[in-house]
Symmetry: C2
Subunit: 244 residues, 2 copies
Amino acid sequence: MNEMIELLQNHVSVRDYDDRIVSDEVKNELVKSAQSASTSNFVQAYTIIEIKDKQMKAGLAEITQFSGHLAKAPLVYVFVADLYRHAIQLKKKDVSLDGLRNMESMVVSMVDATLAAQNMAIAAESLDLGICYIGGIRNDLTRVKELLHLPELTVPLFAMTIGYPASKNDIKPRMPLENVIATDTYQTSLTDLSTYDEQIRSYYQNRNNQQTDTTWTQKNVDFFSIVRRPEFAQFLLDQGFTLK
Amino acid sequence: MNEMIELLQNHVSVRDYDDRIVSDEVKNELVKSAQSASTSNFVQAYTIIEIKDKQMKAGLAEITQFSGHLAKAPLVYVFVADLYRHAIQLKKKDVSLDGLRNMESMVVSMVDATLAAQNMAIAAESLDLGICYIGGIRNDLTRVKELLHLPELTVPLFAMTIGYPASKNDIKPRMPLENVIATDTYQTSLTDLSTYDEQIRSYYQNRNNQQTDTTWTQKNVDFFSIVRRPEFAQFLLDQGFTLK
């Protein structure tokens, strides 16, 4: 259709990078592209922290458990949902911070951070870089907060590793369209996924690394059969959000 | 740098569309591009609902208050953070849904929906379409839930209007880079924003529509001086999330 759409539809997560460093000029374009994303009511409620320090990279990699490549990635960013900056502005005018602490504002900052991150991901891929989102930093948010010295009203949402690909997996087939798109009304019926499940099984059996034998359905059942990161809500409360 | 980075950095929200309809071929590419975005642990926890019905568009426009253009937009999508599909899969295997209901899983679904939306936005802009995110549907989530017949464990996060631009605003200048990007450690000090505030004042005074006299700082103070959408948390509880 066009090069941009091809780029978007050819996305794969890349965890294996060669030794080439990413130039400051490129990094500047990545951040500018991130900043150009839409932002709710122009609040720009996010901060991007580049992790350069080797020990900090190692510390974050340890927290993420399954993302050891983070320690060796040429470029590592942590995306922080961030209303602290706005708190400074409100305090200067003696305005209560209650408007920052509620669920709506917290979600706004998380959406803003995610929009910026996806723009950076696409900018990186357009420059022949590979990227990988790492939600695994949420395994120990308090430790991440200590490492990055995060103030109240901030949430480290995920990290992103970036580098020039040494190897790539094939594109992972997405769910059948009819389960993802609907018209006017939500479709509560889930179509028969057996064909898709086998497609995914064959993907996981044949991919370059971390080969495994599972289906999409089985993977979801295993993944959600435990309550993951049960400390997340308490962390958000500790950060000054009311969850109300 | 390259055309895609130019496209990303030239983004403006577009609320004014001409009468050209968006072809099914284009719509298909938009949805496929959305699906190609990264998704946390491949859970694909979102649904995209195209709003075709005129009365539903009008209903949503009424809810959004300041987004009347939604009623006339050629193409309207609602992005739904969606774990209902996974609930079906877990129920079939008699697995508890607790793993879907907690804060971590809710945030995962919101991030997934946002990543997909931003891919669609960029795909649309690469095809000379203009887009606008509309968080205003969160003004009355219960009404949106009724209109779209949304089941438990789903959250209508925002809408997106898409069409061929009849007019465009200039690019809105983003915050000075030093406030958005940091290295290894969060920068708690907010740099002097007076120059940026005047830049934003002049943007708002001179843009094509909804001209106003405010700065970025003043806009944030006004915006967050009220507790917005206080029913959001209760809606999430009603949808089966524990917020724990």
